[in-house]
């Protein structure tokens, strides 16, 4: 293979390239900004990539692949790791057979997320190693390093990216590994992989031993990078993208950038500090005071940031303010034009209808969350993927009847597959006295993250036909009393009538408001046309499609 010497890649593209060149056999994940483009690019390069219905399933599929000996990449956004946390914590005990890298794409500043949780905490809680790249070159290098680490220590490894690392384009010089991973092959290991208490107790001890060994390893030391003058008095300890902000904001400082941020190579950090003559030791990190707390717990007297800088992402200006101990109020960001539902978006008539009826709307995660903004203001709650159903049911159970009858849950098609089915089980099992109404806004795509496929579209990540979950059949089979399908844009009157009759009925009802996303409709038609053409060719009709 000929690899160009110098490439311009986003962090996500760099992860995909490294994974592909390292022979990753399977990439799995669920779309989520800012992680989505990793698997799309991995597939484009020729890798085998799949969208799972949610992050938990993605990690479980990834674990299976790893248990089978394959090199595996699992991708998700930060809140996706919450969904995948159940397998993650025990996966650490079992460990990896084939190398497994889990990408957690965090979103400090919440460019497109409901919170700015700092997933470095997950690495500690789940006891897995974590690498933090700061640009596309490091995203490439650390993906390779993560796969090597995982192979050597037999542990899943978390690669923690942040929005700017994922989406910024920077120069990469790829160094493809020459060694390819061994072919997948099952090796039986019952005590190693069956986490009954008798086997899990020693597994936990093995895990802690691995982490102790890693903390003191040359591997961890090699991921420490220093910048700036040798005789500096100011020392900045940092990780991830903050390092480049620091180098620009404080060229006078000696900077220690930590690549492996769990477990922290504490001895090596202490040696570095002792070998120099610093008078000012500072930690610069976005989000939680993670490094600060760990270093201080180890008697390293670093100074962190004032609480006001816990919020939002860093830039050169904010880093300079922290170094200057500037606690004066920051100038508020200049408000831009807020986003809005597209002209011609089928969700528009849905939110008009709910607004006009004064409904109490338990909302969910997706484009349709924009129904909260003017002129609709027709969403009352938004928590996490799938929460619309449970939250709506909870409201129905406790509110006085006149209010309870106005409660509606609203969920998108991709979100419904992700986390809505268990909500339906709850609804059928514990029906509120006033019944309930769920609207599935089925626009035929995961629109929010850039039109990805999901099990409800019947097409794979690369838009090829596959098995399809038909919502109305599933809902009927699960015992929902009334299931309707309607085009809320093409037949608004019928949609409104259905909402009214379902709300009045006191029964358990689901209305599937089905009309393709205005941005995706052209592509969906093209995929369907291609699928039909292929089907005709394979069945021997010789049709042109």
């Amino acid at each position: 293979m000929n690899h160009p010497e110098r490439m311009l890649l986003s962090g996500n593209e760099a992860v995909a390239l490294a994974a592909y060149q390292a022979g990753v056999a399977l990439g799995v994940g669920y779309p989520g900004t800012p992680s989505t483009e990793i698997l799309e690019n991995f597939a484009r390069l020729g890798g085998h990539a799949q969208w799972s219905p949610n992050e938990k399933v993605a990690l479980e599929v990834g674990l299976g692949a790893s248990f089978g000996g394959a090199a595996t990449l699992v991708t998700m956004k930060h809140v996706g790791v919450n969904v995948a946390a159940d397998p993650l914590f025990t996966a650490a005990y079992i460990g990896a057979s084939g190398p497994l890298v889990l990408v957690s794409a965090d979103d400090p500043g919440m460019a497109s997320s409901q919170n700015e949780q700092d997933n470095r905490r997950f690495a500690v809680a789940a006891a897995i190693p974590m690498l933090e790249p700061g640009d596309s070159q490091e995203a490439y290098d650390y993906t390779l390093a993560g796969l090597r680490l995982s192979a050597e220590y037999k542990l899943p490894v978390m690669l923690r990216m942040t929005t700017r690392v994922c989406h910024s384009k920077t120069v990469v010089r790829p160094t493809p590994p020459t060694e390819k991973p061994a072919a997948p092959h099952y090796v039986k290991d019952i005590p190693g992989r069956v986490m009954i208490p008798a086997y899990a107790r020693p597994a936990h001890r093995r895990l802690r031993d691995k982490l102790t060994k890693l903390e003191k390893s040359q591997f961890a030391r090699d991921l420490l990078t220093t910048y700036g003058p040798q005789d500096a008095k100011l020392c900045i300890i940092t990780s991830g993208i903050s390092a480049v902000h620091c180098r620009e904001a404080a060229p006078e400082a000696r900077i220690l950038k930590i690549g492996l941020t769990h477990p922290l190579p504490m001895e090596a950090i202490e040696e570095f500090i002792d070998a120099n003559d610093f008078t000012d030791l500072r930690v610069i990190e976005e989000g939680d005071p993670y490094l600060e707390e760990l270093l201080r717990a180890n008697y390293i007297a670093v100074e962190g940031k004032p609480e006001m800088y816990r919020f939002g992402e860093f830039n050169v200006g904010r880093v300079r303010r922290i170094l200057d101990k500037d606690r004066s109020p920051e100038p508020p960001p200049t408000p831009g034009k807020p986003p809005e539902l597209c002209k011609g978006c089928p969700h528009r008539t849905v939110f008009q209808t709910l607004r006009d009826r004064g409904c109490i709307v338990a909302g969910d995660i997706g484009c349709y969350t924009l129904g909260v903004l003017s002129p609709f203001e027709a969403i009352d709650t938004c928590v996490c993927m799938g929460a619309s159903i449970g939250v709506g049911l909870g409201l129905r159970h406790v509110l006085p009847e006149d209010q309870a009858r106005k409660v509606v849950s609203v969920i998108g098609d991709s979100t419904f597959v992700h986390s809505g089915l268990t909500g339906i089980a709850e609804m059928v099992y514990n029906p509120p006295p006033t019944g309930h109404l769920l609207l599935i806004l089925d626009n035929g795509t995961t629109a929010m993250t850039g039109q990805q496929e999901h099990p409800g579209t019947g097409r794979t990540l690369d838009h090829q036909p596959t098995g399809k979950i038909v919502f109305e059949k599933v809902l009927e089979a699960m015992g929902v009393e009334q299931v309707h399908v309607v085009d809320p844009w093409g037949d608004t009157e019928k949609f409104e009538q259905l909402v009214d009759s379902c709300l009045a009925s006191g029964k358990l009802s689901v209305i599937i408001a089905r009309r393709p996303c205005i941005l995706a409709v052209g592509k969906i038609k093209e995929y369907e046309r291609l699928a039909q053409a292929t089907a005709c060719t394979t069945c021997g009709d010789g049709g042109e499609g």
Binding site: D135, T170, V244, G317, K337
Partner: protein, 168 residues
């Protein structure tokens, strides 16, 4: 430093081609051999809301984001975003807005982004023309190459009319 860092902020509304323009600019600078970085926020803000993309190039680029108030050039695709985007500009920096282009002369209604890049290119002689053209081709479908080259050249001509030139 022989080559100071050049900071460009491109701004507009989601769907106008801000990201496409910044992809072309950063690739042209990359093709000219510079260290480059580009940063922007994707996601929900794309849907009709304000969008901005930062492009930096020079000998060595550290942060991918243009520090506040230090842009040498601010390129704005939507008149109603000019005041907002202007805040990125450094004192004495160059502001390029849709007002520089007569919409009647656009080779295609959606080619304003490329015309403005053409104007910008006149102020960036360190990026040779062939790098711009290669970047245009790499980022646009083949059937629109010719019309976008026209748009780019219109920008270069307008730069002369408006006396947009390299900083002294």
């Amino acid at each position: 430093m022989s080559q100071p860092v050049v900071n460009v902020v491109l701004a507009g509304l989601g769907g106008q081609g801000v990201i496409k323009a910044s992809d072309i600019l950063v690739e042209a600078a990359f093709g000219a051999g510079f260290d480059v970085k580009k940063a922007e926020v994707h996601g929900m803000s794309q849907r009709g809301g304000s969008v901005a993309s930062d492009v930096r190039f020079g000998q060595e680029i550290l942060s991918p984001m243009v520090p506040p108030g230090t842009a040498d050039f601010v390129v704005v695709l939507s008149e109603d975003q000019v005041e907002l985007a202007r805040t990125h500009l450094k004192p004495g920096g160059t502001l390029l807005t849709p007002a520089l282009v007569d919409p009647q002369t656009l080779p295609h209604p959606r080619s304003l982004n490329i015309v403005l890049l053409g104007i910008l290119s006149a102020a960036l002689p360190q990026i040779p023309r062939n790098c711009w053209i290669e970047a245009l081709h790499a980022n646009l479908k083949e059937k629109v190459h010719a019309i976008n080259e026209q748009a780019f050249d219109l920008g270069i001509a307008l730069a002369g009319d408006h006396q947009v030139a390299p900083p002294a």
